[in-house]
Amino acid sequence: MQIETTEITLEARGSGRVGERDRDPWGRLGERGERGRRKLRKGREGKNVGRFERWVSGSAGAGLVAMGAKALFHRKWSGVLAAGLGAGLLQRGITGHCFAYEALGMDTAQASEKATGCAERCVTIRRSPEDLYRYWRNLENLPRILEHIKSVNVTSGRESDWVAHGLFKKDLEWTAEIIEDRENEVIRWRSVPGGDVETSGSVRFEPLGHDRGTVVTASIEYRPASSTLARAVKLLRKGVEKRLADDLRHFKQAMEAGEIPTIDGQPSGRGRDHDNQPHPSRFRREESSEKSDEPQPVAGESSESPQTTAGEGGAS
């Protein structure tokens, strides 16, 4: 069967608007061009460089522009390169928009916002919602699993005083009130104004079938008062997201295994343990071995060739 292609082709080419297509080969301008133009404009205005990075970029750019100008003044053409690069860095520092990032689809602005403020994370724990809710609702349990919280003191049915570790050994304090409490389902709280930190958060408990336990979803937000910003660095430095992830993991470990795994307090061959002195043994009381009374040989000074002890076992 013959297929007539000529007319179809002309139709698809938009009956004569070939010129426009040539101007906009990838169709970004869209049918009337409006949507496409708006998209381009948004890209240019959108900030995609993080705050700290903008400062660095701007300062470096300003420096390079100055260096470039100086070089040009002395008729060194490398000044063009420096000034050009500097101008680019300065632009992204001032406007917060980096064309290179846009082309690559990168965005460091989002990341830097999140790290200072809020986070949400979930974990599955092999316990019932009732057990988990009961543990969490007794807020005075929380310092055991929230690493950065020093103490929680429940003062009334809904209110509690919180103390967190701050920098320079000056703690951060605030009062929180529970604003929603549905047994075995959800707890939401927020801080009362006037504390060192403004905070709000929630924890949800959702049962899973097939004996798999409960999904616990927690979200937390911290906004330090400007007066306490320096002390709050300790609170925020680890990143609220990472801290929440660790806290939920500790909650899971405590509720499933009954303890949080750790190696703090174990021996090693470094630091204070690394003195090569005989350490009094905790266990040798009943043994009649004379080893424990003599200073142990320092590694490297011991033995001659071990050929005397080699060669046991079934080797061919």
């Binding site: 061959g269 343990d273 090569n276 350490h279 266990f283």
Partner: protein, 392 residues
């Protein structure tokens, strides 16, 4: 107490350190009577495993006598003789419940670090880098055993240490490698690597019903051990082309299952092996999968490649197209030791039938002070060294 400490690449020292203490309620302290050096300890010795710190105590194959228990440990008492699995498992999480002990959720204090590299963290291990917990290991006179109500296996007096010590790691590892091959009647199993794990994989393949077992290596005494104790046919990869030889030996089909008991520090002088070494020296690749490539290439269509050999990071130039095109099953992972300890102890004891004595793989025994020398000869395969046991 004396402890074998890592102090950098090829720098092992026996240091004097404090005895361990009970830290968590489910801990126990074990006085170590025998401990072994594992082939994977050599990766630490060579400095190719990241997150080691100077002074870390090594050792994950150990056994001994319980001397102290934490308040939550009800099933062990001081005086009990135990073998301790090298993977640490809580017994209560999703993975422990399904007997996937080496994937325990709750035994790695540095889980967030492992998550960055792997997506989710496996269980903690004794003496095997901070990525996997940083736990002090058992090449020492005493060791702290977390979750002691779940891990340690009580073993009867009367059996020498040398016959039960390997329940801690390599005997279950070889067995799980063979079990993962899903061996059917008539199957031929090829094993790359005739070190201790390979030797036990050979034994296990027979136990699980293989028709033929073919062992591949280059070191004469290891090939000899595979023939004498393993009753395996052998291929010396330094002398012949492994894939061709396997094709000839299997009537043109290829082995039904291939076990890579070599892991990330494979030897070899073929172009791909040299490429691996160059990339590793230039820090562009972390693992050298020469044996794995051969196994994938040589395996018959629809067969299984079983990987107990340790891999840590990233592989390069692995023939995944061959694996896909041939529809291979690839099974791998750290051993779920807890699953196999009792059944393998039963096999060792015999209980009516002739028992199995795994101590044939031991070629050297030293007091713990000689650990630096022991690591050296084990690494260089000098003096016919195949397995070293340290006594405290």
């Amino acid at each position: 107490m004396k402890a074998v400490c890592w102090n950098g690449k090829h720098d092992i020292r026996v240091e004097n350190v404090p005895d361990p203490v009970i830290i968590n309620p489910r801990d126990a302290i074990v006085r170590v009577t025998s401990t072994a050096i594992c082939g994977s300890d050599l990766h630490l010795y060579d400095g190719v495993i990241p997150t080691m710190e100077k002074g870390d105590i090594l050792g994950h194959e150990f056994m001994g006598e319980v001397v102290e228990v934490g308040p939550e440990v009800k099933n062990l008492s001081p005086g009990d003789r135990v073998v301790v699995p090298f993977t640490i498992a809580c017994g209560k999480c999703f993975f422990c419940e399904r007997k996937l002990w080496s994937l325990c959720d709750n035994s790695n204090p540095n889980a967030s670090m492992a998550e960055m590299l792997y997506g989710y963290s496996p269980s903690g291990l004794f003496g095997y880098s901070h990525l996997l917990g940083g736990y002090a290991g058992g090449q020492a006179e005493y060791v702290r055993v977390p979750y002691a109500d779940v891990g340690p296996l009580r073993v009867p007096d009367g059996i020498p240490d040398e016959q039960v010590l390997f329940l801690s790691d390599i005997l279950p590892t070889g067995y799980m490698a063979a079990e993962n091959c899903d061996i059917q009647p008539g199957d031929t199993v090829a094993v790359w690597g005739c070190g201790p794990v390979g030797q036990f994989a050979i034994q296990s393949a027979w136990w699980l019903g293989a028709e033929r077992v073919i062992a591949i290596d280059e070191i004469p005494e290891r090939l000899e051990m595979a023939r004498e104790y393993g009753k395996a046919e052998t291929i010396d990869f330094g002398e012949e082309d492994v894939s061709e030889r396997l094709r000839d030996m299997t009537g043109g089909l290829g082995p039904d299952a291939c076990i890579d008991a070599v892991g990330l520090e494979a030897h070899g002088t073929s172009p791909d092996a040299l490429y691996d070494r160059v990339k590793q020296k230039m820090m562009l690749a972390t693992d050298r999968p020469h044996a794995l490539r051969q196994a994938m290439y040589a395996c018959r269509k629809g067969g299984t490649v079983s990987v107990p050999g340790v891999y840590a990071g990233f592989l390069d130039k692995v023939p995944f197209g061959a694996a896909f095109g041939k529809g291979l099953k690839i099974r791998m992972g750290q051993t779920h030791v807890h699953r196999y300890m009792q059944p393998l102890l039963d096999r060792i004891q015999g209980n009516g039938a002739p028992g199995f004595d795994p101590s044939f793989i031991i070629t050297h025994e030293f007091p713990i002070d000689e650990a630096p020398y022991a690591y050296e000869i084990f690494k260089e395969k000098e003096k016919d060294c195949i397995k070293v046991v340290l006594k405290t």
